[in-house]
């Protein structure tokens, strides 16, 4: 299955730093490429069709180069900071948010070897680094010297703390079933699994952990502050929330990290619940072939799940702050705990 021109590549022996450099560059390209694709596909086109309009049509065929034009526009704009702002914190905040986003991609496997770092505690690491973005958001809200920004930052922090718990608890069901925190183990368990002896589709955890999957999706919707959970950036009351004072390249960083986080969480969700990069073992696709089929499979699943997030975003109206907190603390968290208890019982019984 390996083309002839690629043979010499396989014989290459790379030093650790060379391997790491290549992995990081390829990972960055994949993350940014997928993010750009998702922005064009959903934010430009999908929503336009839902609203009976065409969306961008001028830049490139069907407006496909619109995103590059937008990036060019943002890069040209003057980088303004409010005169009373805390300059250092104001400047660092977007970097913190973006770092938190890109660190998630480090452990997402896209093939048998295609992962930057195959950590034993992979999913735990994802939950850990994704929680860092709250710090950046609070920094931005405070340092902007703007009441709207501060209120937006506080709302965002309250919401992100509330929805981090269901996010973590939804994952626990999968971890109990597999008995490992490693994402490759979770993928393998689904590819090799069987449903009452039927191996045709493996055993994706969306079936046994459907409650966990739904809680996870709702929680990432809230973590991404997408409608119906967009109280922190509600245009009609807060202008744009914590990033109201940001322009030019700094706003671009927030924009990229918003959609890159959507891609990252969707990829994590597809790894946990939809089988990740693997196809069921019974299909008999060789491991060699999976080196290039795997990335396509996980990308397709991730893009599909981002589509679900955006579908919800463009369909539902905004929650009120109390409804939002009630849903998390009185709805999702007890449900997730019940799911954990039930999964643990099933794990012991069967």
């Amino acid at each position: 299955m390996i083309p002839a021109f690629a043979e010499p590549l396989l014989a290459l022996e790379l030093a650790y730093w060379q391997e790491t450099l290549i992995k990081v560059l390829v990972g960055l390209a994949a993350a940014l490429g997928l993010t750009g694709g998702v922005v064009y596909l959903y934010l430009f086109k999908f929503v336009s069709f839902m609203q009976s309009r065409l969306g961008p049509m001028e830049a490139g065929p069907y407006g496909s180069l619109q995103l590059l034009a937008e990036v060019g526009k943002w890069l040209q704009k003057e980088d303004v900071a409010p005169s009373r702002a805390d300059r250092v914190v104001f400047g660092l905040a977007p970097a913190v948010v973006l770092t938190s986003t890109f660190l998630i991609f480090v452990v997402i496997p896209a093939g048998p070897n295609a992962v930057i770092a195959d950590l034993a505690t992979g999913i735990y690491y994802v939950l850990g680094v994704s929680s860092l973005s709250v710090i950046g958001i609070l920094m931005a809200g405070w340092a902007s010297a703007n009441k709207y920004a501060l209120i937006g930052g506080l709302r965002a922090a309250g919401q992100l703390i509330a929805y981090e718990l269901p996010l973590v608890l939804a994952v626990v069901g999968v971890v109990i079933t597999v008995g490992s925190l490693n994402l490759q183990d979770i993928v393998a368990a689904q590819a090799n699994g069987e449903i009452f002896g039927f191996t045709g589709i493996g055993n994706p955890f969306i079936i046994t952990q459907f409650i966990g999957f739904m809680i996870f999706l709702i929680a990432i919707q809230a973590e991404l502050t997408q409608t119906p959970f967009d109280m922190p950036i509600a245009e009609s009351e807060l202008v744009a929330g914590y990033h109201v004072e940001y322009t030019g390249i700094r706003f671009l960083v927030y924009f990229i990290s918003e959609f890159a986080t959507a891609v990252a969480f969707a990829a994590v969700a597809s790894t946990l619940f939809l089988g990740g990069w693997a196809v069921p073992e019974s299909w008999g696709i060789s491991r060699d072939a999976m080196h290039w089929v795997g990335p396509l499979v996980i990308s397709a699943k991730a893009v599909f799940l981002v589509g679900v997030v955006f579908w919800v975003r463009f369909t539902f109206p905004r929650f009120r702050e109390d409804q939002l907190q009630t849903l998390a603390w009185k709805g999702l968290i007890p449900l997730a705990l019940a799911n954990i208890a039930l999964t643990a019982v099933f794990k012991v019984v069967f």
């Binding site: 929680s131 860092l132 609070l138 506080l154």
Partner: protein, 189 residues
Amino acid sequence: MIGTLALLAQQATEHSFDTPVNVVFYIVAAFMVFAAIRVVTTDNIVHAALWLIMVLAGVGLNFLLLQAEFVAITQVLVYLGAIVVLFLFGIMLTRAPLGRADDLDNNMKPIAAVVGVLLTAVIAFAVIRTFGDDRLTFEAYSGPMAEAGNNRTTALANEIFGPQLIPFEVLSVLLTAALIGAIVLARRD
């Protein structure tokens, strides 16, 4: 001076001395000390909380250097992702002026210094008494990272849910009691 340097260089290249890990440790430690001093000397309360993040992240890095991956991530998740965020949240909800604040100092400095010195002495004594000349063995592993790491995470889990089960559960109950206590104190009805 040159003799000392030569001695240090000789020690650093000795077999038992894990050079890269030690070099990184001293860099991280120096940065942590600097950040910790900034926490108490900065004249803006939000800056103090942000410097505290640096100190706690340094602790996480030290756990990583000790190859305790699970503990390091727990440090990030609990301290950086939750506790400091709650600090920031609380500060910003109440009073968080931009710029310098003059009322952050009080006249407790000498007492604080005494407490600090005593605490350092107690911790140093306990650490030296317990570990003394113990040396960590840094296993260089060639297999997949996941395998090597998994064993250590498994060992930690076996320790917590085996011999240490009772203290672990008691701690959980204690934390729950604290949580309920906080709710009772905060509720007005």
